[in-house]
């Protein structure tokens, strides 16, 4: 009778087990180092913000002081308002533009790439020095409105919003989807709103959060233009009361983490809606 040789799995040697354990230890070591690297400063911030409290006072005294300060609330809401306006203006300006360039003027992509990095090249101080006389001459009313900050932040956020949308549009078959919608009778605006935008959700959320981060954290222009935004307020508090300033820094960190968590949850929502992908594209 012919012998049949069946390849069998080798029993795991002690050496391979040792190697696996060795790798696991490295994983743990790096994870521990990473966590330490990120958490130690945060711990220090929290620790410091809880010091300097008089005996019998609430340990979160500096936090309560921050929240009780009407200037904090006004600065925070001003920044939130400016951020939302910046996001709205960026999306209204960039989404149709990037969509149109991708769909009808692909040759202009390289120009757009170049234009989108200009805010990196021109420092904010140069921008504001150049803009201030212009805004003063043409509209002194506009100069004192916080909305003008939003317009400036649209320029600052341009690289991030453009890159996010560009990557999002490259990830979908824009031409085919648009033509499919058109063949079904859809106009271009409807196609953009009902077909393209839902598929750019992650890109829009990513670009928007980066825009919010810029608008919430920008100091130079806001300070030069005399607006008491969140970042200006944080700086001012930090220079007068160290404990309160550090408490405020931790609050800012919490806001950033909250935003990142929001991004994660929104992005996850999109992927679970689509469910599990079928890998065999050729089955019937």
């Amino acid at each position: 009778m012919a012998q049949v040789t069946v390849p069998v799995a080798r029993p795991r040697s002690h050496r391979s087990r040792r190697a696996r354990r060795h790798v696991s230890i490295w994983h743990l070591w790096w994870a521990f180092t990473g966590v330490l690297f990120f958490l130690l400063p945060v711990y220090s911030v929290v620790q410091f913000s809880l010091q300097g409290v008089a005996h019998g006072q609430n340990p979160f005294h500096w936090y309560l002081t921050v929240f009780d300060d009407p200037n904090f609330r006004s600065a925070f809401w001003l920044s939130v308002q400016i951020s939302l306006e910046t996001v709205a203006a960026s999306l209204v300006l960039m989404v149709p533009t990037v969509f149109w360039v991708h769909l009808r003027l692909p040759g202009l992509r390289s120009v757009m790439d170049l234009v989108s990095v200009l805010p990196f090249v021109v420092p904010p101080i140069v921008l504001i020095v150049g803009l201030a006389p212009f805004l003063k001459v043409f509209s002194s009313w506009l100069f004192v409105r916080p909305e003008v900050l939003s317009l400036i932040y649209v320029v600052f956020a341009l690289p991030f919003m453009y890159r996010a949308l560009d990557a999002g549009l490259r990830a979908i078959d824009l031409r085919t989807l648009t033509e499919a919608a058109e063949s079904l009778g859809s106009s271009l605006p409807r196609t953009l709103v009902q077909v393209i935008l839902p598929n750019l959700r992650a890109a829009i959320i990513g670009g928007s959060l980066l825009t919010v981060a810029i608008a919430m954290g920008e100091y130079t222009v806001a300070s030069l233009m005399g607006f008491n935004t969140f970042s200006v307020y944080t700086y001012d508090v930090g220079t007068s009361t160290a404990y309160e300033g550090v408490a405020l820094t931790f609050i800012s960190l919490l806001l950033v983490w909250g935003a990142m968590l929001g991004l994660y949850l929104l992005g996850r929502g999109g992927s679970t809606a689509a469910g599990v992908a079928i890998t065999d594209k050729n089955s019937l």
Binding site: D173, E179, A180, G185, S186, A273, A277, I278
Partner: protein
């Protein structure tokens, strides 16, 4: 159902002529395939009909009306694309309903129509699945259902099966044809796959360099190619060079053979050099014992290659008429090997000449 007429369509891309005064008429309820190699202009023609490209000159008539002045979204044409084109954010049902939502159909009417069409393409149970949960074949079925939901005047299919593997392609093309026959919709189908075109079309237009080389039923295209391009592009063809020796009897000398050509279009004067075409399946082989002369009406050949194709084996032959390919039953081919000497017989009823 509508008729489609393409009249003297011309389209250039720089110095490249994609369509060179193309004329084509598709009758109501007919299934016509544009067949040709890459770059022959077939997709350009389809995209012009759909409204995604514009010709430099010419007309596209649907039911006698020129539609070139209408944008794509006003032409009421269903289209299935080569790439997967389902909207990823919508379920199969929502995809099918999309065109009806654009037309402001009621929710109930939309749902009913979507169910009806998804059942028609065999996906009645997959209505709530997203495109990523569907296989490639299923996605193209949904795309077909979606294109039909708007009750289009014509259906345009741009190589809808080319992204699928061979087996699925064969199954799905039969379904496309079944649905087309069931609905009786006028259909223009673009493909580079000759088997696909020949198997599902009422008529096939073989295209080359922006022109239609030949338009006819699949049988006409296969058995009666009118140009050397069609003969070479559709199926496999043997080419024999010969000289006309009798005009009245349509006799051509090919090497040592005198071949009578049954082609009624034969119109070559005596002495003219012509090319004779014969398909591999119209050549039969007979084993010759050592030293035997080939029987009358046959000539000698030596086997140079054997390619197993399943039910038949393609035999490469070296003959006095030049190299030939013959298809023989694989069972018979078991008796053949390299350098086997055989008697080769051409089925004279299948011989054709092509001018030039």
């Amino acid at each position: 159902m509508a008729t489609i007429e393409l009249r003297r369509l011309r389209r250039t891309f720089g110095s490249v002529v994609a369509l060179d005064n193309l004329d084509l008429e598709v009758h109501s309820g007919e299934f016509v395939s544009l067949l040709g190699p890459s770059g022959c202009g077939k997709t350009t023609a389809l995209r012009i009909v759909a409204g995604f490209e514009w010709p430099d000159s010419g007309e596209v008539l649907v039911e006698g009306q020129n539609v070139l002045d209408k944008p794509a979204n006003k032409r009421n044409m269903g289209m299935v694309f080569q790439a997967y084109s389902l909207f990823p954010n919508m379920t199969a049902q929502q995809n099918v309903e999309f065109g009806l939502r654009v037309r402001r159909e009621s929710r109930t009417a939309r749902a009913n129509r979507a169910r009806e069409l998804l059942e028609l393409v065999g996906l009645g149970t997959a209505m709530s699945r997203y495109p990523r949960q569907l296989s490639g074949g299923q996605q193209q079925r949904v795309a077909l259902a979606r294109s039909l939901a708007i009750q289009p005047s014509v259906l345009l299919l741009d190589e809808p099966l080319s992204a699928l593997d061979a087996k699925v392609r064969v199954q799905l093309r039969a379904e496309v044809r079944r649905v087309q026959l069931e609905l009786g919709i006028t259909t223009l189908y673009v493909t580079h796959d000759q088997e696909e075109a020949l198997s599902i079309s009422d008529r096939v237009a073989v295209m080359s360099q922006g022109r239609i080389e030949q338009l006819g039923t699949p049988a006409q295209i296969y058995s009666g190619p009118r140009t050397a391009f069609v003969a070479n592009f559709v199926g496999t063809m043997n080419k024999l060079a010969g000289t006309v020796v009798s005009f009245e009897d349509r006799v051509v000398r090919c090497g040592p053979m005198l071949l009578s050509v049954p082609d009624p279009t034969f119109n070559h004067p005596v002495g003219q050099t012509v090319e004779l075409f014969v398909r591999p399946e119209d050549i039969s082989l007979e084993l010759l014992s050592n030293g035997d002369e080939p029987p009358s009406g046959t000539f000698e050949g030596r086997v140079t290659s054997l390619t197993f194709l399943g039910p038949v084996t393609r035999v490469g032959l070296a003959t006095d008429l030049g190299p030939l390919l013959a298809d023989v039953s694989s069972a018979i081919a078991l008796n053949l090997s390299a350098d086997t000497v055989v008697a080769v017989k051409l089925d004279s009823s299948s011989l054709r000449t092509i001018s030039g």
